[in-house]
Each structure stands twice: as structure tokens, then as C-alpha cells.
Symmetry: C2
Subunit: 473 residues, 2 copies
């Protein structure tokens, strides 16, 4: 099992802990703060309720988490070391010297610094790369990598294996890329507040009701490419480029950082959301992120593409007597106001089981592209027990009949303790997608289906199959 050592356990360090741990890594933490364990456990609680919800497969079993007051002990056997101590260069130099001495020679040593360049971090002889993540680290994919090219390449593979998106910066520069953009908006925003053009809440609405929604999926240049229309990016720049010369922004100047400005902003922020605790805001943020990222997963845009790529790397459960066709936690986004899995998602899960079983008999993406598929004709669902957010849902699939055009399946949905939570009996017919009518499957598909049908023929007919709604006894 791979091991990561996290040096410095605040919100960012805790996010790194969660990212590695929930992807099956062993994680050791070095942080002299007596509150470190409590702080990290809070970040982990948030991560456990949100990160698995991004995927339609189960993540690996959680790794082991340990806390150390001895840095050498913490670093033993680590293949990744991540430093997230406060943003002071002298402190970073001191910590990096210790890590250099005690960490395995082959370990990647990343710094979460948002501002310093590798040349500054390494001026005392350390061998650190910048690996700058974004809060919440357990959900947002982006990590900016800056430094030695070979190390960054190795680091990219590791980061992709824990579901992140490494972006290697071509030349070192203060604050890398994203924080330079954030800094520009932050300064302009402070001026707008200071001059009474808007409040913090109004400024946030100006972002999230408009261009924020564009940026979450496409970023800046791609959005403008579309704005340019069929004439393309050159047309856009011809039209809007000259506006650059206008003296719109106040950015030539930095507003004076007075107590009055701090009070104005803190007061407005309290009015905006002082009625919610930070914990509540974090959960709202995470639920929104999961919902939006799952929406992007459907199109594969941006963060959705990263999730799809990571999911393809996750292991598929092994076959048992009855094949396991789904093995995944119940996402928060599948639950209702009452915390139960919503009935539509019982069908979504059983449709995933059907899709997986179709793959297993060779009715896969290529087969479908060639014009064959199975379409559902009927479902009968019995709801037997509640399923909740985070429960590990396992579905087994039994073939009741598999001959000719027909495929008659019986899915059993099991909850975390193995209890039967629902059954879905489903009848499908094979279709010729070009002729838009029913047809026989290919011989290869028919043979595999028949072999499952034969293997399952010896099993008892499931309790609950062949029943109509409301049937007694």
C-alpha cells in the first residue's frame, strides 16, 4: 500500500489527507498543533460524505491514518510528501531541510504554496516542487505543478491516480496561474466594495448568477470563443480587444488596507450569511459541487472528464455465484429531504446493473454502436428497506430467462449490512437500432446470455418474482 506523509494539517493539509486516504493510501501526519487531529477529522467527515458521491463505482477501502510527533517516523516509507505549513519562506526553508534529510530519496516532495516559486523554495538546497491545490482539496481536481520536469511528470501520474487534475506551469512565476487571476478579481472587488458600488453579497450574485456558471464548465477563452460566433476568436478579439485600452479597472492601484475597509467587508459578509455556520456553508458548498460535477460528468466537460478518467481506473468487483453488477456508495445527491434514497435512483442503480450485465454478455459500447441493444419493456420494483447517503449499495443480477429476443433479469439491491433493500424485476427485448424493431441478438451475445441463464437455472426462483403490484402472501 502506498504511503503519503502530510506535513502541516490545516484545512489544506486535511484536504490532502482525505484525498489520499479515501483513495486507499496509508497516510501519516506530522503537525505539532494539538488541534491537528480534531481539525483533520472534521475535514475527513466532509470528504467522506461528498467525494465517493462523484463516482458510480466504489473507491478503494480507506487506508490507515496515523499521527506522529516525530518527523522521521512520519516520513518512513513515504512515496509522496506534501508540505502545507503557513506561507512564510523562512519556515518553509526550515521544514524542507528536515524533510530532505529524513524522507526516502525517491519520494516526491510537494509544497502547497500559493505564492512562492520553486527557485525560491529550493535556494537553500531542497528538492521541492510546487503542488498547489484548491480548497476543498478532496473535491476540486486542480493541482498546479511547478518545478523539475521529470519530478512533475511522475507527480502527475500519482495525482491522476487519486482523481486530481495536474496542470504543469510552463515557466515559474509568483503565484502560478489561478491565484494571479484571483488576485486581479480580489483587488477590483475591494475597490467596488470600498466605493459603495455594491456589497459583498451583490458582488457574489454578479458572479454566480452570470459568468461563474460559464467558467465552471468552460473557463475564460473558450467562453469568448463562443461569443465570437462562427467568425472565431480573431473576430472576438477584433471586436472586444480595443476595449482593453479603456481605463475601466482600478487595478493600477491597491486600496489602502484600513480597519474601516476590513470592518466594512466583514460586516457585509456577516449580513450575507452570518445565519449559517462555517460547517453548514461547507456542506452546502460540497453538495453543490457534487451535484454540478456529476452534471459535468455526463458531458465529460472539465472536472467531469477528470472524474470519468479516474472512475475508469477504479477496480470492478469480482464475479460471485450471482454476478455483482453494481458496487457503489449512495451519493448524497440521490437522497431526498428525508435522507432516503429516492425511488427514481433505485431504477437508476438497477439500470446501471442492467448496463453492466449487458457489458458482461458482450452487449457493450461497440455492439451498441454497431446497431444492437436491449431495451427495457417492464420493471417491477419492491421497496423493502431504506437506503441512506453513503451506504454501500451492492446489486446482484440473476437471469430468469435469456432466450430469443427476451432477457428477463432479477436484480437484488443490498444495503451496507447485506440486507435486501429492494428487488427489481426487469424484462428487456433485443432491438435492431437501425430497423427500429425487435430482433435476435448476435450469436456471441446469445451464447453468453444462455450460459448465465443455464448457470442460474439451478437456483430457486426468487421470492418476489412474477408478482403483480399489491399481491398478497
Amino acid at each position: 500500500m502506498k504511503k503519503a506523509t502530510i506535513v502541516g494539517g490545516g484545512v489544506i493539509g486535511g484536504g490532502w489527507v482525505a484525498r489520499f486516504l479515501l483513495n486507499g493510501w496509508k497516510v501519516s501526519v506530522f503537525d505539532p498543533d494539538p488541534q491537528a487531529e480534531r481539525k483533520i477529522s472534521e475535514v475527513l467527515a466532509n470528504a467522506r460524505r461528498s467525494l465517493p458521491s462523484l463516482y458510480d463505482k466504489a473507491l478503494p477501502a480507506e487506508g490507515e491514518l496515523t499521527f506522529h510527533s516525530d518527523m522521521g517516523e512520519a516520513l518512513a516509507g513515504a512515496s509522496w510528501v506534501q508540505e502545507s505549513v503557513p506561507e512564510r519562506l523562512d519556515l518553509k526553508h526550515k521544514i524542507h531541510a528536515q524533510i530532505n534529510e529524513l524522507a526516502p530519496a525517491e519520494a516526491v516532495i510537494g509544497s502547497s504554496t500559493s505564492g512562492f516559486k520553486p527557485s525560491e523554495l529550493n535556494e537553500k538546497g531542497a528538492r521541492v516542487i510546487v503542488a498547489h491545490p484548491f480548497n476543498p482539496v478532496y473535491l476540486l481536481p486542480l493541482v498546479e505543478l511547478v518545478g523539475d520536469a521529470d519530478t512533475c511528470e511522475n507527480a502527475s501520474d500519482v495525482l491522476r491516480s487519486v482523481g486530481m487534475y495536474p496542470l504543469t506551469v510552463r515557466k515559474e512565476i509568483d503565484a502560478h496561474i489561478a491565484d494571479r487571476l484571483l488576485e486581479a478579481v480580489w483587488r477590483e472587488g475591494l475597490w467596488l466594495i470600498k466605493d459603495g458600488i455594491c456589497t459583498t453579497e451583490e458582488l457574489d450574485e454578479a458572479i454566480r448568477m452570470g459568468f461563474g456558471l460559464r467558467w465552471a464548465q468552460m473557463g475564460l477563452f473558450e467562453t469568448y470563443r463562443i461569443a465570437g460566433g462562427e467568425a472565431g476568436m480573431k473576430h472576438f478579439m477584433a471586436q472586444f480587444g480595443p476595449a482593453l485600452a479603456w481605463e475601466w479597472t482600478k487595478l493600477m492601484d491597491v486600496p489602502e488596507f484600513t480597519d474601516e475597509l476590513v470592518d466594512l467587508i466583514a460586516g457585509q459578509s456577516d449580513a450575507q450569511s452570518g445565519h449559517m455556520s462555517i460547517r453548514e456553508l461547507e456542506r452546502l458548498r460540497d453538495d453543490n459541487l457534487v451535484g454540478m460535477m456529476r452534471a459535468l460528468k455526463k458531458s465529460g466537460s472539465g472536472a467531469g472528464g477528470t472524474i470519468n478518467a479516474h472512475e475508469a481506473m477504479l477496480p470492478t468487483p469480482e464475479a460471485a455465484e450471482l454476478p455483482v453488477t453494481v458496487n457503489r456508495p449512495v451519493p448524497q445527491s440521490w437522497t431526498d429531504y428525508n435522507g432516503h434514497m429516492n425511488e427514481a435512483h433505485y431504477i437508476e442503480a438497477s439500470a446501471q446493473a442492467t448496463d453492466r450485465f449487458m457489458e458482461m454478455i458482450g452487449c457493450d459500447a461497440d455492439y451498441i454502436a454497431a446497431g444492437g441493444s436491449y431495451f427495457t419493456v417492464e420493471n417491477h420494483v419492491r421497496f423493502l428497506d431504506e437506503l441512506h447517503e453513503g451506504d454501500l449499495l451492492t446489486i446482484t443480477t440473476q437471469v430468469l430467462k435469456g432466450e430469443g429476443k427476451k432477457m428477463h433479469l432479477f436484480h437484488r439491491l443490498h444495503g451496507a449490512e447485506g440486507q435486501l433493500a429492494a428487488t427489481v424485476e426487469t424484462l428487456l427485448l433485443h432491438m435492431d437500432l437501425n430497423a427500429r424493431g425487435t430482433s435476435l441478438p448476435s450469436e456471441a451475445v446469445a451464447d453468453k446470455l444462455a450460459s448465465y441463464a443455464a448457470a442460474h437455472a439451478g437456483l430457486d426462483k426468487p421470492e418476489g418474482a412474477g408478482r403483480h403490484v399489491g399481491q398478497r402472501g
Copy 2:
């Protein structure tokens, strides 16, 4: 029927046409461009496939769209006039003078200007307010309003009635709020490209893999409030405010707008997404926006709150012999790779029908909050015909049995031409949510359910009810 006149029919004008038309307004267009009708029809095609997908109720029937070469004819009877001509002050002055003369005196006259202040627009005696929307206007809620306070207040009511989010700017300023922030990022971005720190694609990834996802739901200050942790906004500012004095950004300077810079950016943008047409990019953007906005609808954050507020204003269909419990278009996000409505969404739609029927018998949000509800025990679904993106889906609900703890319903899902697309037979039991067991409903709920059951008792038992999966004949 209310009427809006759109003066200038490009991408922004076309977006305004779609916003009003799909909300049931009559819309007249004045634009001397012979291509205007074609351009607007393309925007409308995009809007028709995406805007209705945000809602779980049908939007009003589309209004009538007319094109005019005579401005007086176009303006007759309009209560909203929206000017979206190119960004030249002399041109705007000329058009505003004509509108002032020909438009009804009580009409709101909005300008889509992204840069000019009302004092500039009105210096020749016009009575225009700034009503600055964001592309795509038919999906993004934000409209910045600047100008006369009473007019802005009236305008806000109108904009909310077509599902938009009016943000009244407290003091006029060049470029209002959002475009000042965009301008700051645009300038910094151009420097990063020019200096070879990253390409346009890498810059877009730095946004959409990280802070873009945060901004779509919470904006800037709320995100930083969370980053400050329990200690709040003051703590955040104490920690990060001083970084303002660092000379990070290049914003003191405007990069020279040379042909080389234009070619560099246009070339990188072509490499990034030259393989997709603008039309394909628009549809990808819109599908992503709909998916993300529907995710936000669940929490009510940002644009999701605006959708919920608008949906509550939309009319509920009238009762017929069998009550119509769902009447809505099939969202794009409900369809599969093959363009059909996915089987899970048949259940989602029938669950909406059940929820609506529960409301009709008094088992509403208050009743549920007080501890009573109905839980689904079984569903039997028969898939009879395909449903596609944009089809108007109507569900009627028949009570098969409604006594004691039991509620046995039969939903018929009808497609756009009235054809029967599916039936869902569903059995529910009344629950005491506090005792976590079955119980009798309140007398009021029982009485209303019984009255429906009695009214439906005279109807034939539906074909397809009481059947098990695979039953013949």
C-alpha cells in the same frame, strides 16, 4: 398578452427574444440586418432545447414572434423595449431618440450596454436604463440594472417574471460590476499568454478545474468566508489581506494589442477546440449549464434559487376527469445517448405525479413536516412508447384504491401527441415519520383521498393494472 420589442437582433438581442417568447410574451423585432431572422432562429433553437429543461413545470405557451422594418410598428403596444445595438455611443443616442419618440410612454426602455453609464446614454434626453444581460441570455439569470430607481424597480418585477435575476447597481460606474471583474481577469490572462506561462487551454483548465466550480455556486467573498473558517471573514482578511501589497499581478499595465498577440491567442484557441463548430460548443455549454443549474435547484443556491422562485410563479394545470398531475417538457438531461428518456426518469416523473397528487389530497409540505407522509412500497412500470427531449409529457393519475393506510395509484404517461408512453402502477403506505411505522392518514387527508377514490370507482380498471412482469395477453 404582454409585448416586448427587441431592437437589434444579434446573439444578445436573440437571447432576449427567446427569454420573453418562451415565457409567453408577444415579441416584435426591429433590425435592418437581412440576416436577423436567421440569426434569431438559431438562438431560438438553442433556447427551446434548454430553457424548458430547467423547470419541473411547463412554461406558458410560446408567444407570437414578428419582424418589422418600421420601428413605429415594432414598438406599438410594447411594455418592454430592449436595445442591443453595437457598443457605439453615437449609434445608441440615435436609436434611443427614435425609441423615445415612438414607444408607449409607460414602456421600460432597457439598453444591453456592457460599458456605458445611464448618464451617458441619457445626455441627449432619452429615458433609458441599463439592463445588461449575460450570454446565453436565455439561460443565465443575471441582469445588471442601472438608472432611475422607480424604473429599475418596475423592471425588476418584469425580469423576475421571465425567470431572470435583476441586480440593481447602487451607483453608476463604467462597465457596471461583472464586466469590471471580467476585464481584470482578461488583462491578467493576456499577460500570462503573452509571456508564455500557459496557453489559452491551460488557463481555461486553471479556472474550470478549480475556482470556477466554487464561483458558479457561491461567488468570491462567500468562498473566502469559508476559507477563513470559524474565525470568520476578519480572520481571512488578516491572513490574506496583506498579500495585496505584493506586486503579483501585471495589471498596472495593458499589454500592447499587436497582430502577434492576436495570432498567438487565436491559434491556441483553434488548437484547443477548433475541432468543434460554434454550434456544437453552444450546445455543450447549454447542456452543461442546464445540468449544473438543475443541481443548484436542489439546494436553492444561486441560479437554482432563481429557478425555484420562477417555477413557483408558473401556472399549475387545471383538473380534468382524471387529474393532470404532471405537465412538463422532457429535459435534455433526462435523455440517454440514444435520445430516449431514460427509464429512471419515468419513475422520477411518476414520483412527481405522486407528489402532486399527495398535495392535492392535503398531504403537502406542512403535513409532512408535522410527521405524516406516504411511502412507495411497489412500482410496476410498462414502457409502451419512446419519449424524446422536448416532448410535452402529461401524466394523469387514477386512484385504484384509497382506504386505510393504502393508496394504490395508476399513472398514465402521455407523450406530445397524446399517445400512451408508459403506465406506472404504484402502491404507497401512509407512515408516521416520528414512530417510523405505518399509520392511518389524518381524517382530512383520508376524506379527500376517499372522494377521489369514489369519483374514480366508476371508471374501468385500467388495461395493464394488476399484472406481473412478462404476463401475456
